[in-house]
Symmetry: C2
Subunit: 416 residues, 2 copies
């Protein structure tokens, strides 16, 4: 028998308790031992809960109980979660967390503590909710040199962008609907300004490239500037606007992580991931591309990922080193967004002749060294998929403007 | 340092050797030790290979070398692969295989041998090529009760079905193209008659439900009967024809595994998986649905999965029990395809009035206890998504025939 403690009895924590109770037999079978819920830490009182006798208000009883094998942290936020988990790791108790803010900011410290005490800090639930992505990335794909990761890592913004297009709904109305449905917080900044997706791409970047990537060093744009017209133009050009969190390995050995709305062509599976689903595309030298999709949030989906880790942590006492990165500074390792090479979707603020837009762009590109490019265009937008660096993109836009075209908005093109 | 032996130097085996050489540093870092290629077993001679000094023609030197930690089997077929791997496991040497025929037929025996000698038999590469599916299924999703798995598990048939629709190409021509491109064998039966997909769903079923599912007990249909007209009708009804390998848990506790062409609605991601890609959808009580997509075959994609397992096996000597099933007979465990409850796509052999087809079907279903069903119809086909058992489907078809409709072909509807 191994005792499990759950920190926090909010949405995720109560989901973990529910799943541990509901699928007890299955879980014990997979763990090869009985996993017994022993403690739930929450400052609130739950006198009517069937688990009322498990509640504690401080870490002390959990840390004092030598039978506790795994602590699952579902509190959210950096503190007190960080202090609580460090106190566990320093006693050699493995921890599992769904807390992306914590891992994005303190992952290297937690992993170092786990390593020095020969236990584990697992965080499958911190990225992509129910989707298995952390373990597949560092274990199943361990033999690959990862070249890029692209993902829809925030279901709320994906829901909003979908609604804008499918129901012809402006951003503010779609946001309000998401709030009414409980998908978005009253204070929606973490979602709509890209911070949530940023934390998640930090975690994936750190894992894939072995050095901690902090949120402050990642260019992050949200979706507030995306209009109905942008969504409609992308659709007319056989694609979608998606908030994409990505990291690419550049030729100079550095990595370029960023979060921004992008045009995604329909040929890419990510373009068609709808609603609150998340999807992660991993590019590696052996696999080419693999996609992982599923529910990015929610009580039981997130609890599924937490419990998968709890089962794993209960079986493996030795530190899993493939899931490890170091805090090694950012110098020469992280490139800024000015290094991004990509195509561009241009939306104009007036209607023009689509054939003329297309032929102007083709001729311009031919002169710039890209002959025979066929440019998709509609009357108020066009799509240039030729990868260009920042100054090449700027020169192209300047050329359009000089020709008299009024540009309303541009979107980078996801090139995977 | 740990020695690795590779059995078979065909496409997959040479890919494993290539990957192990190319990404040596990365692999050693993930393994936490040097993994050194020590032996390649092949009956052929490769005098000009850079690995010429590693070739052996029998198992003896591999089995005699106590430094061999993992043997990767890439021979294909049941024998001599089975005997070779049993001889390794019986000496406590962990094995890794890409061989779906072997695992589908002998998995329970190999796993039992691994268990009794405290080592591992891993087979991530046997299903879905590059796609991480085995480990995510039994580890990341370990806390879920799995209710169903659906997948495109054979890229060759998926390529053929795609070509039929996209290039208006009859089955025989699309098959010939697949053969010319090297996707299909000269003797294509394993692919086009569904046997390859059958082996893979056997492996996933065994893993998800804990008892060995043998290919002989799985209803298996291929795609030879699929016509251009079927593909076009599905497309007109907002879906695709896909060769689906699936397993569903039924209410009576039994499971229903099968392979058959199905109509898949475009809303489901599987409908849009094109070309030689594979995709697996896993349904569980906590995750709802998760999708895993990627290259289902090919030298380096398959080698990536093999090497992921090799790294894992080199680190874990203790048997991984979550990846285990027993040989427990099929009685009362496997249900036949006559128990399948699903909708049906009906294609007629003449053109009718779509509105009349639709209203006839709606009225029939209302009488049969399914009121207010709106039935999608085009002039030569219609789609009934109401789940019906075999006799209900038969009665519906009989009603159409009695009304004078000539039915050319029917396809079950994938309901996930």
């Amino acid at each position: 028998m191994k005792k499990i403690a759950v920190l926090g009895y909010g949405t995720v924590g109560s989901g973990v308790v529910e799943l541990l109770t509901k699928n007890h037999e299955k879980i014990n079978e997979k763990a090869g031992d009985e996993l017994r819920l022993a403690y739930i830490l929450d400052l609130r009182d739950f006198p009517d809960s069937p688990f009322a006798d498990k509640f504690v208000k401080a870490m002390d009883p959990i840390l004092a109980d030598e039978e506790v094998a795994v602590v699952a942290e579902c509190l959210g936020g950096t503190e007190p979660a960080f202090s609580f988990l460090m106190s566990c790791l320093n006693r050699g108790i493995s921890v599992v967390t769904s807390n992306k803010e914590l891992i994005a900011n303190k992952g290297a410290e937690l992993l170092a503590a786990a390593k020095s005490h020969s236990c584990n800090c697992f965080f499958e639930a911190s990225v992509g909710g129910a989707i298995p992505i952390i373990r597949p990335l560092h274990r199943c794909l361990a033999a690959n040199e990862i070249s890029a990761i692209y993902g829809i890592l925030n279901g709320t913004t994906n829901f909003i962008l979908n609604k804008m297009l499918s129901d012809d709904m402006p951003f503010q109305d779609a946001l309000k609907l998401a709030q009414d449905l409980g998908y978005a917080e009253r204070e929606p900044s973490a979602d709509v300004d890209g911070h949530d997706a940023c934390r998640k791409i930090c975690i994936l970047s750190s894992l894939a490239f072995g050095r901690h990537v902090y949120p402050e060093s990642v260019h992050t744009e949200g979706i507030r500037d995306i209009s109905l017209e942008d969504a409609a133009a992308a659709d007319a050009l056989d694609g979608s606007v998606k908030l994409i969190a990505f990291v690419k390995k550049l030729d100079d050995g550095s990595i370029l992580p960023a979060v921004m709305p992008m045009y995604v062509p329909h040929e890419n599976m990510i373009s068609r991931v709808d609603g609150v689903f998340n999807c992660v595309e991993v590019c590696g030298d052996a696999i080419d591309r693999a996609y992982f999709c599923g529910r990015g949030a929610g009580k039981l989906p997130t609890a599924s990922a937490v419990m998968g880790d709890v089962i794993e942590a209960s079986k493996h006492h030795k530190t899993v080193f493939s899931q490890f990165w170091v805090d090694a500074g950012t110098q020469n390792f992280i490139s800024g967004v000015e290094k991004l090479v990509c195509g561009v979707m241009i939306r104009f603020s007036a209607a023009y002749n689509a054939a003329e837009i297309s032929s102007f762009a083709s001729e311009y590109l031919a002169k710039a060294g890209h002959p025979d490019e066929e440019i998709a265009a509609v009357d108020n937008a066009c799509l240039i998929t030729v990868p260009m660096n920042q100054s090449e993109r700027q020169a192209l836009l300047d050329a359009f403007r000089q020709k008299g075209y009024l540009i309303a908005h541009t979107l980078p093109v996801m090139d995977a």
